[in-house]
């Protein structure tokens, strides 16, 4: 992808992301409200989570329904490491990501020889098993009684300046913002690379991809591991932000929320997923009175998007954009002449 894009579009794209970053950095002062800042912190965590699902579903075309379970693995792992062993958050975060990645790898190894519906069901099954473990291993997770009093991230001591603490919303916001930015950057790098090419080829036609030399099983497993790592990071941030976690937060239903974000974004588009994640995090809060209808709406939305807009918003934008290009105009002319 790099190099095949006209230079002026690369510049425009870079400018857009920079502007978005500037707005994001200034956001606490623009919003001037703790309540809304809270929402954006959650939006950031949801972005990371959805970007993970995007790698496995949007890039590689694998319907993995165990994503919320891996989110939970990251959350419980991080919380328990910090609370039970006294480990610093800054080590617990990568450790949880690694552990979630390991679990994701195990699930993938068992499930990935299968395709389509087999994979969806197997991963959903694993997700439910993970949930059952959270619920029933009470000595470890406290089960439905919830694991509370999770400490915030340890302060960072900057020599000569002082300690940066994380007991305020603003500091948590910037932590999450940094992690979200890194997540977006890494996703973008992967998408535009040889690795991303392999993922996309598997999504488009797995048989052809393998015949063209792509080791498909290895890449599918990599997609699983990467998406699990993302979920693990999101989980760790979530646990140390909300400070209390319970099994119900990591049920199959929560996977649906991420699924809606990825599907609406469409085609593996990173921008699409980011926008959709922010939208679907803010919307339910803003329209709290309609909360009863939220899941109904999500269900209907999945159906509607699949029927009318299978490539999501990204596909819609691509169509409009493409019609304006030289290639698009040529196609339209050819169709008109035929």
């Amino acid at each position: 992808m790099s190099g095949t894009e006209p230079f002026r579009i690369s510049v425009a794209r870079g400018a857009a992301w920079s502007a978005a970053l500037a707005v994001a950095v200034a956001l606490p002062w623009i919003l001037n409200s703790n309540y809304y800042l809270q929402l954006f912190i959650l939006a950031g965590i949801n972005i990371i989570l959805a970007l993970g699902l995007n790698i496995v579903l949007g890039f590689t075309g694998l319907l993995s329904l165990g994503h919320a379970g891996l989110f939970g693995v990251g959350a419980y792992c991080s919380a328990l490491l910090v609370m039970r062993t006294g480990l610093s958050f800054w080590l617990a975060l990568p450790a949880s990501a690694a552990f979630a990645a390991l679990i994701g790898g195990l699930i993938g190894t068992c499930s990935l020889r299968l395709r389509g519906h087999y994979l969806a069901i197997a991963t959903a099954g694993f997700g439910i098993i993970i949930y059952q473990v959270f619920l029933n291993w009470i000595s470890l997770t406290k089960g439905a009684a919830a694991l509370g009093d999770i400490p915030e991230p340890n302060p960072i001591v900057i020599p000569g300046v002082g300690a940066l603490t994380f007991d305020t919303r603003i500091s948590m916001y910037f932590l999450v913002l940094t992690m979200t930015a890194i997540a977006i950057l890494v996703s973008g790098r992967i998408r535009n690379s040889r690795i991303g090419d392999a993922f996309f080829s598997i999504r488009e036609d797995e048989v052809a991809a393998e015949v063209m030399g792509i080791p498909t099983f290895r890449y599918k497993l990599l997609a699983f591991v990467l998406s699990a790592a993302y979920a693990g990071v999101a989980g760790s941030l979530y646990a140390h932000y909300t400070r209390i976690i319970a099994p119900e937060m990591f049920h199959l239903f929560e996977t649906v929320t991420s699924l809606v974000m990825v599907i609406t974004g469409g085609l593996g588009s990173i921008v699409g997923v980011v926008v959709a994640s922010i939208f679907f995090t803010l919307m339910p809060e803003v329209m709290r009175e309609l909360n009863d209808y939220r899941m109904i709406a999500y269900g209907a939305l999945l159906v509607v998007v699949m029927i009318f807009l299978p490539e999501g918003l990204a596909g819609l934008v691509k169509q409009r954009f493409w019609r304006g290009t030289r290639a698009g105009k040529r196609q339209e002319a050819a169709r008109g002449a035929a």
Binding site: G61, L63, C110, L114, Q132, F253, L259, G299
Partner: protein, 292 residues
């Protein structure tokens, strides 16, 4: 002790028969459309609620309630086919799968909204009536469940193997284009398949309603087990589904001896994963290699 084991055996057969009937509905739809309908569990739920409303609320007799459940479930299935699956006939496999997941979520939460999360108790007179079979006793409800399910399985086998409709179904499942060329109305066959498959799930729901607790999310464990059964038995294979359904029912029943009851639901997954690792095409399906 022997009595206890015998009770478990019979209980396993009863459970197995319900699972089988439900899974058969799922297999039929898969065979015809190549799509696993995630919302099949919700059709089961709709059947249970229909039975409940007709019997416990409106005071109809139990047989009428069951017929109503069949009708309600079949209508739901037909509606699903028309609104969701037909437009996606030519879409890549992932689309109807995700769409069916959407339907599932939609129906669960509609039920939640309309009928509240309060679990309903659905008491037929048969639940309390106890019957003695040889040395064991169990509720009449379970006996009825088993008999009805066994009859349905036999009836389905007859329909699929011996009737014209059954032949059409098998033809469309094998090769829709050829079937159409032979004068079969594909659309009608598909709708009929959905109706019958959903009706089966509805009956299962109405039969089992008195034994389980009726709530909007009761379909979730059902669908996952139905999937497990269909995969174990081999996609599209009726014999395989029957065998796998009873195996699961018996495994869950005897599993109580070994596993804490909270984890009973996981037996289905263990069996499923075992099957996937050892023989992914299932017990009965032939090893098909895709020709490119």
């Amino acid at each position: 002790m022997g009595e206890y084991l015998l009770t478990l055996l019979v209980s396993g057969l009863v459970t197995g028969s319900v699972y089988t009937v439900t899974a058969l509905g799922l297999t039929m739809v898969y065979g015809i459309l190549n799509v696993m309908n995630f919302a099949h569990g919700e059709v089961f739920m709709v059947g249970a609620y229909c039975g409940y409303f007709l019997f416990a609320v409106l005071g109809m007799s139990y047989p009428v309630a069951i017929l109503g459940a069949i009708a309600g479930a079949a209508a739901t299935g037909v509606l699903m086919e028309a609104v969701v699956f037909r437009p996606l006939r030519n879409a890549p496999q992932l689309s109807p799968l995700i769409a069916s997941l959407g339907v599932s979520i939609f129906l669960q939460n509609m039920a939640l909204l309309l009928w509240s999360p309060t679990p309903r108790m659905f008491n037929t007179p048969f639940v309390d009536e106890v019957v003695r079979i040889f040395v064991i006793s169990m509720s009449m409800q379970r006996v009825i469940v088993f008999i009805v399910c066994a009859l349905l399985i036999a009836a389905l086998y007859f329909v699929v193997q011996k009737t014209a409709l059954g032949k059409s179904m098998r033809a469309v499942a094998l090769d829709p284009e050829a079937a159409a060329l032979m004068g079969i109305d594909n659309r009608r066959v598909i709708v009929a398949t959905f109706a019958i498959g959903s009706g089966l799930a509805g009956v299962a729901g109405a039969l089992v309603g008195p034994i389980l607790i009726i709530n909007p999310f009761m379909g979730i464990p059902i669908i996952l087990k139905a999937f497990a059964i269909v995969i174990m038995g081999g996609f599209g294979s009726i014999q395989g589904t029957v065998v796998a359904g009873f195996i699961l029912g018996l495994a869950e029943s005897f599993g109580i001896l070994i596993i804490p009851s909270a984890y009973i639901d996981t037996i289905a997954f263990v069996l499923l994963i075992g099957t996937l690792l050892v023989r992914p095409t299932g017990l009965f399906a032939e090893r098909l290699e895709e020709n490119v």
